[in-house]
């Protein structure tokens, strides 16, 4: 079937001078990377020392802030000022870390207490993203139009929102949040055009998160069939298990925070040393604890890792069942933790095929993200690979008795929207609470609470007479919007789910203002650039639309839109972002009905299988 293309020739991106720079960012628990696709090849940007990975560590000293290797150097001497693995805490609740000896937090709220003040996980992540943005801007010698940032597929809504906030704080325009395993699949799909459809499993074990995704790949289509995992399981847990083993084995005394950090570092070194050896001995005199050497054998490590690996394998089996497939054609390994021999062996046994790891498991995610970023920034037109991703966890709301009514099932392809009708439980009830939860369990307390809002203004009726339609809408980033409408009165209320433990919009604005990198002029320039881009997109899009589908409008309607275009064009040359935004908004609203008519027309055309050549033929 040949379908009509909706993109008109006039609206095609300019391939020449104005090629936009977009990057892919892998914001990892332990290491982060930034990569760029220039149309031919993916390049992972390196620092001045030639290192691609940026340790996801931020140092907040009294008089300076450092990121990466420089920050990590302070870990033993100033542990409280040196924040590592902040991703584990992104979008999560303080209560989840209450008893964790490895996480030092402020008395209230989820923040780290440093000499530079209290820092939230969102701020720490923003600092890392800023360092990556700077690295990319220097390498590309110009500003970045946007970024695709990868997140673990198993990240819930709050964790995704927190990631978006961190990007905003770092002055990055997020083109899309892309699931890490999907990004890896894209990277592997770069050099091949699979004619036959094939099944692929991506086993992604990083520093702090584990994901398993099952995909079907066929002729430019990457379709995620199922995803699963654990957003708090990774190489960090291995390190901690090794530390706990040593503490017990060598009967070490209570350690201070600095010693603990050092011991974690020793654990990491031993683990890596055992990737190709049978025993490792660490010189631990620096610990200054009466213990001169620490020993770890391959057998010890394997025994310590087994329970963690078993958890990942049971998620793998569940994902296969959810995908409705018995086996896969290939398995791809992603994440530094998959270098561990025992894990390779376990994955090979579980899927019955030798895992593929021709691309660097540390870089593959950033590479796939870079490729997708280039498509999303508009450098390439139709015919490109299409990704169909899913939501990892079911979404629902609380009903009477603390039970969860599921609205959208896990592994639903996004974007997705679903509506469900509810009614009041008591006579004369004029308001109700909509409590949105995420998870697979039947009781509310076993699921993750995402948001709670009230619908008021329902006229008093007998119980069961009101008709309240609750709509869940998940966009292509996996972010949820919920609305409720009482059908008879039109009383309505809606929320975009915000992370309960992140920052609100005004806090972000404050921080942007306060931040040195975003001094006023810079902020203004950025805002102006973004507003112009959106305004120009509307002008050129609308002009092309009128040229092509103007017959849908009366002459009067056309001249009204043209007046709006003229007005916006005039405003575009001024330097007032607010004015541009307002005019864009106005013209956007004025053209909404026209856009809807055109959409209907193109859908009709698609359904009838009309090809673009037929239509062009008529016009010519």
């Amino acid at each position: 079937m040949v379908l009509m293309q909706i993109s008109e020739p006039g609206a095609q991106p300019d391939q020449g001078a104005s090629r936009q720079h977009a990057v892919g960012i892998d914001l990892g628990t332990t290491n982060s990377l930034v990569a760029h696709f220039d149309g031919d090849a993916v390049q992972v940007f390196k620092d001045v020392h030639g290192r691609a990975s940026l340790p996801s560590v931020v140092y907040y000293g009294a008089d300076k802030t450092e990121v990466g290797y420089e920050a990590a150097a302070h870990a033993a001497s100033e542990p409280h000022n040196t924040i590592a693995s902040a991703k584990r805490l992104l979008g999560r609740a303080r209560a989840e870390f209450e008893d964790d000896p490895y996480v030092a937090l402020t008395q209230s709220g989820l923040a780290f207490e440093t000499d530079a003040g209290n820092k939230t996980p969102v701020e720490v992540s923003a600092q890392i993203l800023t360092a990556l943005r700077t690295r990319a801007e220097q390498a590309l010698d110009g500003p970045i139009a946007g970024a695709v940032i990868t997140v673990p597929a198993y990240f819930d809504d709050a964790q995704r929102q927190a990631t978006r906030q961190a990007a905003e704080l770092a002055g990055l325009k997020v083109l899309r949040l892309l699931n890490e395993p999907t990004a890896a699949a894209v990277a592997y799909g770069l050099d091949e055009v699979a004619e036959e459809s094939s099944l692929l499993a991506v086993y992604d074990l990083g520093g702090g998160t584990f994901d398993i995704s099952i995909l079907r790949m066929s002729r430019g289509l990457f379709e995620v069939l199922a995803t699963g995992g654990d957003s708090a399981l990774g190489g960090d847990d291995f390190d901690r298990a090794i530390v706990d083993f040593w503490l017990e084995h060598y009967e070490l005394d209570e350690l201070d925070a600095g010693q603990r950090r050092l011991l974690l570092e020793f654990a990491r070194q031993s683990k890596e040393g055992l990737s190709n050896g049978d025993t490792v001995t660490i010189d631990s005199r620096a610990l200054d604890n009466g213990c001169d050497a620490l020993l770890l054998s391959r057998a010890d490590l394997d025994r310590l890792l087994t329970p963690f690996i078993e958890r990942t394998l049971s998620a793998c089996r569940q994902a296969l069942t959810d995908a409705g497939v018995g086996s896969v054609d290939r398995v791809v390994l992603v994440g530094g933790s998959t270098r561990t021999p025992l894990i390779r062996q376990a994955v090979a046994e579980c899927f019955g095929s030798e895992p593929l790891c021709t691309l660097d498991p540390d870089q593959v995610v950033a590479m796939g993200a870079a490729k997708q970023a280039d498509i999303l920034v508009g450098n390439r037109g139709a015919g490109e690979a299409l990704l169909l991703d899913v939501i990892p966890l079911s979404l629902g709301l609380e009903t009477y008795g603390g039970l969860v009514e599921r609205i959208i099932d896990r592994n639903s392809t996004i974007p997705v929207a679903r509506a469900q009708e509810f009614t009041t439980a008591r006579d004369g009830q004029t308001g109700l609470v909509v409590h949105v939860v995420q998870g697979e369990r039947e009781r509310v307390e076993d699921c993750r609470s995402l948001a709670q809002f009230e619908l008021t203004g329902i006229p008093p009726m007998v119980a069961g007479a009101a008709r309240i339609e609750v709509t869940f809408r998940v966009d292509a980033d996996g972010i949820l919007e919920v609305g409720a409408v009482e059908q008879q009165t039109g009383a309505s209320s809606e929320v975009t789910v915000k992370p309960a433990f992140g920052l609100d919009e005004s806090q972000i604005t404050e921080m942007l203002k306060a931040s040195y990198e975003h001094a006023n002029e810079d902020m203004l320039a950025r805002k102006l650039g973004e507003a112009r881009l959106e305004g120009e997109a509307l002008v050129s899009g609308l002009q092309a639309a009128i040229a092509k589908d103007g017959d849908l409008l009366s002459a009067e309607e056309v001249s009204q839109l043209e007046a709006g275009i003229f007005n916006l064009q005039t405003v575009l040359s001024d330097n007032d972002p607010e004015q541009i935004r307002a005019s864009t908004e106005m013209l956007g609203q004025a053209s909404e009905a026209f856009a809807a008519m055109r959409m209907d027309r193109s859908i009709q055309a698609a359904l009838q299988g009309v090809s673009i050549t037929d239509l062009d033929g008529d016009e010519a």
């Binding site: 079937m1 379908l3 293309q5 909706i6 609206a11 991106p13 083109l175 899309r176 289509l221 069942t321 498509i375 999303l376 920034v377 508009g378 139709a382 299409l386 709301l397 009903t399 009477y400 009514e405 639903s412 392809t413 996004i414 974007p415 997705v416 929207a417 679903r418 509506a419 469900q420 009708e421 509810f422 009614t423 009041t424 439980a425 008591r426 009830q429 004029t430 308001g431 109700l432 609470v433 909509v434 008021t456 069961g464 008709r467 339609e469 609750v470 809408r473 966009d475 959106e534 997109a537 509307l538 899009g541 956007g588 053209s591 909404e592 856009a595 959409m599 193109s602 859908i603 698609a606």
Partner: protein, 189 residues
């Protein structure tokens, strides 16, 4: 203002209006299929992919926001439609929702007592089985499968004869049996 205490005012599910009673689009037409139970799955998938290839939000990068929003809404419809038509039970329910019967009333009438007894007997056998009885489990799974296949056949026959009351009854049988089948599969893992 919310005079109810939060706990008392919690939403409770209506038993009157399932969300699927008023679908936004005609799904069969959307995927260029005849509105019958037995569909060409390959054709469904082909249409699905072709629609998403053209209207997925990724294809609207750099377009005005209003177009992006419309495309996302349409894709959400396409995804929902694909899910509804892909699964036997939900496709059957969707067919009934377009048929000239009151589905809620038919649901209250329920399935026949014979079927109910069969279903209860199957469930009891399943629940009394030990995980180790692999062969017996597989045999039972196959038996449930045969019952399910019969219900599907009867549903299909009833819809082509436009005996909607019968169709609604067989659809409910399909619901019972598919849940049972799922329980049997979970148990045997």
């Amino acid at each position: 203002m919310l005079p109810e205490s939060a706990a008392a005012a919690k939403a409770s599910r209506s038993e009157l209006e399932p969300a699927m009673s008023a679908p936004a689009r005609e799904y069969f037409a959307l995927f260029q299929l005849k509105p019958v139970f037995r569909i060409d799955r390959a054709a469904l998938t082909r249409s699905y992919h072709a629609l998403l290839d053209q209207f997925h939000p990724d294809r609207f990068a750099g377009k005005p926001q209003v177009e992006q929003r419309l495309a996302a809404q349409f894709c959400a419809d396409v995804n929902t439609g694909f899910r509804v038509l892909s699964d036997d039970v939900s496709r059957a329910e969707y067919l009934l929702s377009r048929a000239p019967i009151n589905l809620k009333e038919a649901e209250r009438e329920g399935v026949g007592s014979d079927f109910l007894m069969t279903q209860i007997a199957l469930r009891e056998r399943l629940e009394s089985m030990q995980p180790a009885e692999v062969e017996a489990r597989e045999a039972l799974e196959q038996e449930i499968n045969r019952h399910y296949a019969t219900a599907v056949e009867q549903f299909e026959a009833a819809t082509s004869d436009e005996h909607w009351q019968n169709a609604a009854r067989h659809w409910q049988e399909m619901c019972y049996l598919s849940k049972l089948l799922e329980a049997a599969r979970v148990g045997s893992r």
